[in-house]
Subunit: 518 residues, 2 copies
Amino acid sequence: MDIDKFRKAGYDAINRICDYHSSLPMKPVVAQVKPGYLHHLIPDSAPQKGQEWVSIVEDYEKFIIPGLTHWQHPSFFAYFPAAGTFEGMLGELLSSSTTNPGFNWFASPASTELEGVVMDWAAKMFGLKDIFWNVNGAGGGVIQASASDSALTAIVAARIRYLNEHPGTMLESLVIYITTQTHSLGEKAAMILGLRVRALDVDKAVAIHNIGLTGEVLKAAVKEDHARGLHPFVLVATVGTTSSGAIDQVADVGFIIKQSFPSIWLHVDAAWAGVTLACPEYREAAQLPGINEYADSLCINFHKWGLINHDASAFWVRERRRLIDAFEITPEFLRTKEGDAGIVIDYRNWHLSLSRRFRSLKFWFVLRSFGVDGFQANIRKGISLNDSFVERIRASPIFELVTPPSFALTVFRLLPRSAGNTTELESINALNREFYGALQSRPNLVLTQTLIGEVFCVRFAVGAARTELIDIDNAWEVIKEVGESTLESWAMESWDMEMESWAMEMESWVTAHELPTP
Amino acid sequence: MDIDKFRKAGYDAINRICDYHSSLPMKPVVAQVKPGYLHHLIPDSAPQKGQEWVSIVEDYEKFIIPGLTHWQHPSFFAYFPAAGTFEGMLGELLSSSTTNPGFNWFASPASTELEGVVMDWAAKMFGLKDIFWNVNGAGGGVIQASASDSALTAIVAARIRYLNEHPGTMLESLVIYITTQTHSLGEKAAMILGLRVRALDVDKAVAIHNIGLTGEVLKAAVKEDHARGLHPFVLVATVGTTSSGAIDQVADVGFIIKQSFPSIWLHVDAAWAGVTLACPEYREAAQLPGINEYADSLCINFHKWGLINHDASAFWVRERRRLIDAFEITPEFLRTKEGDAGIVIDYRNWHLSLSRRFRSLKFWFVLRSFGVDGFQANIRKGISLNDSFVERIRASPIFELVTPPSFALTVFRLLPRSAGNTTELESINALNREFYGALQSRPNLVLTQTLIGEVFCVRFAVGAARTELIDIDNAWEVIKEVGESTLESWAMESWDMEMESWAMEMESWVTAHELPTP
């Protein structure tokens, strides 16, 4: 494709994107396709001869779009929504137009320096202390691909710091601390590194207060492990867990770490809820004081609720040299005079891979186009929309909140007041699995499930960029209707079962009394 | 930004990209900026109020583009060029417009299924055996972010397989095998995992034949390590090293592994040169028979010479269950009925992170638009352009090839025939560092350096999509001129030094013989 053809194809793609976004509310949220659908539509080998662009892009419309689950749909309430923006797209487009894997400052000064700048913009917007700013040279921020990568990076740096401070410690005796509510990224990092992991049990506290780990629980665990000859070396604390938005008490656990176990690295995974730090009124709840005082590293994803298209995971460390100690390798072919002089950041030494995409451009575009005001407005909208959903749940006789709501996330289940405390958990779980299954078959919204302890629940997560009050209203209507009909058939089944058991009882009574059967 | 504003901004961005690409040949290849340049141009905090798009995009032109090293420039011969295409950009654009982190089939059926399809297209185009095809369910292909991620993924899967087969083996006794010519990704993976690494010495063989590891060297190393109680469990072999394009003998080492050490996982890193497999005439050289017979995993980057914009690292495994054994974790909130039924691929279990970008779209666009014919033509063009550069080096009296050329890569140095074998390596290295330094100050091309053993050399890597014969001619003119002038001043310096030492000698002779000074 030459420049002229690209101009035409580019305009056309922009138009298609406009059409896609204006028609989104009319589409089913979840792809209405069966596993394997695409194999029937696409040849099984690449074509020998090149094809015309128009046929390719038309196949995109015909075969790909209907197979997408639309994360940008205003009725997407599953997982955590990924709020994309047009500014983010333009960032991706322009960045791909110069495609350069800026691993060194030299390999792409602008992408390195812009990353340094926008990570400082974000740090200031969130109220992070200056120790975390790139400009000061001690700590700093870097854009990673995902919260998983950020956590893995932190855990590796933590392990290397720990082994430097405690030479001779066997890998087999190291332990990664997470909680029973930590995202699977904690356990996955342990599998990747081949290290022990211990999930501290916070399920009860979460169900009652949606508050996760406390210093007390941490202290007891460390003492226990030390007594067994084990070496906890990192804690992955969470501000806003995936299951329920639970919040580990960062200042509390940080204080214990600093006082008693200073070799333990405190990584704060605020992948989802961290963006609320942009609003001063949520900083206390989102643990800013504890993060500023104690966190060794922090992750906040802009590609969830932060208006930047996937991928955009912001990661800060208190001491950048810990990353460089862990990741720097400089073969001759990567040496540069600026790197040798130590006057620039070579971001390849701040993450797992060598090469990296020019992601800072979309950060710059979004933060400038929205401004801090616009960014805050998006967070406040999400929380207020979720509040209005919570009100409906609270007022309903057939639903209950399983945990206190957290920012823009509600965890609830079907529980008729009549069921009271007498019904078995197993039975209520079965009811809710049925409810969730029925919800899944509705094409006009999507939610996901979770377990809090052993309680099966449904999650309602607000955060797609285009969700408005009308979408909450519509969702509520569907949820209520599906809830009511699930309950109805459950009640009928219960009634049938009761009748059946009553009939059996009567039959045996009749038999026992040798009466003539009616 | 609303849909109407986006349409306007989108057209404008497309126009800017057209202008950028048509003006590229006139730009300096390397950014002409000093470290810290951007801090003087951009405010140190995000704006409070949102800004107009036009001011943002104009700042992009003014502040960012001049700070870019232009990897798409036809005179980019550094590292390995990253050949982007317009088709690749359109893929990035459309993929970002639906921004969805397709970790599960359910989370995005189209992106999962398209990835399955295009990885099979690529496997067939490269002549990979059907064991590696997704459609057959045994092995399969997945798109990773980088060759580093691919290698790390392979090494983790290898470690878990090894420990399953040899329970009780201590992590401290495991060894990752690389060679002295392996990319830094091998050593970096070892640092990340905290495992031993051993670089098998292949420097001499590389300097003579540009052939790397052989079975014999491998066998001797394993025996030695086994005798010391160590457990080599993975070998990262390379087809086309970064330094010189050296080629480890995959069939040879694979045979030794299969015969004698079947617990060792063979990962083939063909990140750069693997794309030559698209041309039947290079398959033997690029080790296809050995890969098909013995490789447990294989990495080929499309974002180097493969016409797909960064990032696009193709990774295949012989047994997909090894990845799933290593990476699968399914908390309740990630369960889906399709995943539970085992009838779909959930790609989150095939890589390090959870969420992932919709990268298959750009693969599909590029492979369809170019066809296999177009893809092959690009590879053949690169090799033929490099051949013409090699001819010039061979014919020149002042340069020599340090290693035999490899595909589209030439490793050479300044070595006047007159220098012969009498000049010290140190002195020739100094000469070449001076030569390379002078080349670096030329804005109209960029090359990078390397060390082969202790020999300092310059690398000339062809592969940017727009490079043509005229660019090779121009580059050669600059290289020759800089080489000649470096040599000239070196000869003068040598002459001066010789004169100086002769004068000193004469002076002492005069003093010794008590002659009157002239």
